[in-house]
């Protein structure tokens, strides 16, 4: 125990500590280039499915999956949203990578659904159109998902 500070001074100091923790929690993010790269890959796969032979599309899909598996673990934790700091593990929910992967799985399902609808409607390039639409959703929805994760993290700290 120490008698050097009053209760109100201690409270102010602890409030300042919490405010700084929240400032760091507000940095939880996935780099923007990740979403743009995934979206670009999506469109390329859509183009392959539309214009290339089946084997090329299969090779492209496997290659994209392998590249993603190699890069994603370092990126989707949410701890390295910017090059200016690395957020400590205890501040970021362990569920963030699963949320990002779940989002991408949902986007795969959505691509398939949109392509089937477009195909039934006799659209000329259903796979390419579907992948283009979903790529736009990845670029806008990914950052929105991370913004939700950040808000939750900050709320958890202030609770």
């Amino acid at each position: 125990m120490n008698g050097q500070v009053s209760e109100s001074e201690a409270r102010l100091a602890l409030d300042a500590v919490e405010a700084r923790r929240q400032q760091v929690a507000a940095e939880i993010d996935v780099p923007g280039w990740y979403w743009w790269s995934v979206a670009a890959g999506w469109v390329v796969l859509g183009a392959l499915a539309t214009f290339a032979p089946v084997w090329a599309s299969a090779v492209g899909t496997v290659g994209f999956g392998a590249l993603h598996a190699a890069v994603a673990p370092r990126v989707i934790s949410g701890r390295r949203g910017s090059s200016r700091l690395s957020v400590r593990r205890d501040l970021v929910s362990r569920r963030v990578p699963f949320l990002v992967l779940g989002f991408l799985v949902a986007m795969v399902a959505l691509t398939t659904a949109i392509a089937l609808v477009l195909d039934a409607d006799a659209a000329r390039h259903p796979a390419l159109l579907a992948s283009g639409i979903v790529a736009a959703l990845v670029v806008t929805g990914g950052p929105l998902l991370m913004s939700w994760v950040r808000r939750r993290a900050v709320r958890r700290l202030s609770a």
Partner: protein, 108 residues
Amino acid sequence: MAERVMAEAVFDDLIHPSTRLSIVALLASADWADFAFVRDRLGLSDSALSKQFATLEDAGYVHIERPVTQHRRRVRVRLTDTGRRAFVGHVAALQEVISTAKLGARSD
């Protein structure tokens, strides 16, 4: 606090001044942070922040690295284990002040 480091509640005079407490609290939530990040978040000048870092480095509380990335010199700062223990101990001491005051108020 969600810190995993266990430390005895010890009031730390070096950490307590508000600017240094803010710096250490910021670094305690990060593995490392850029000098510029800390400067911008705390609204300090380069020289004021350098002075605070020098004090914390002399005490062994922070470690300053100067990696060269993409031909640019950067300054990265991280809290050392000693610094982290001191911070956790200081926060525990502040919490103790509050809980003791609460107990005193109840017994009155």
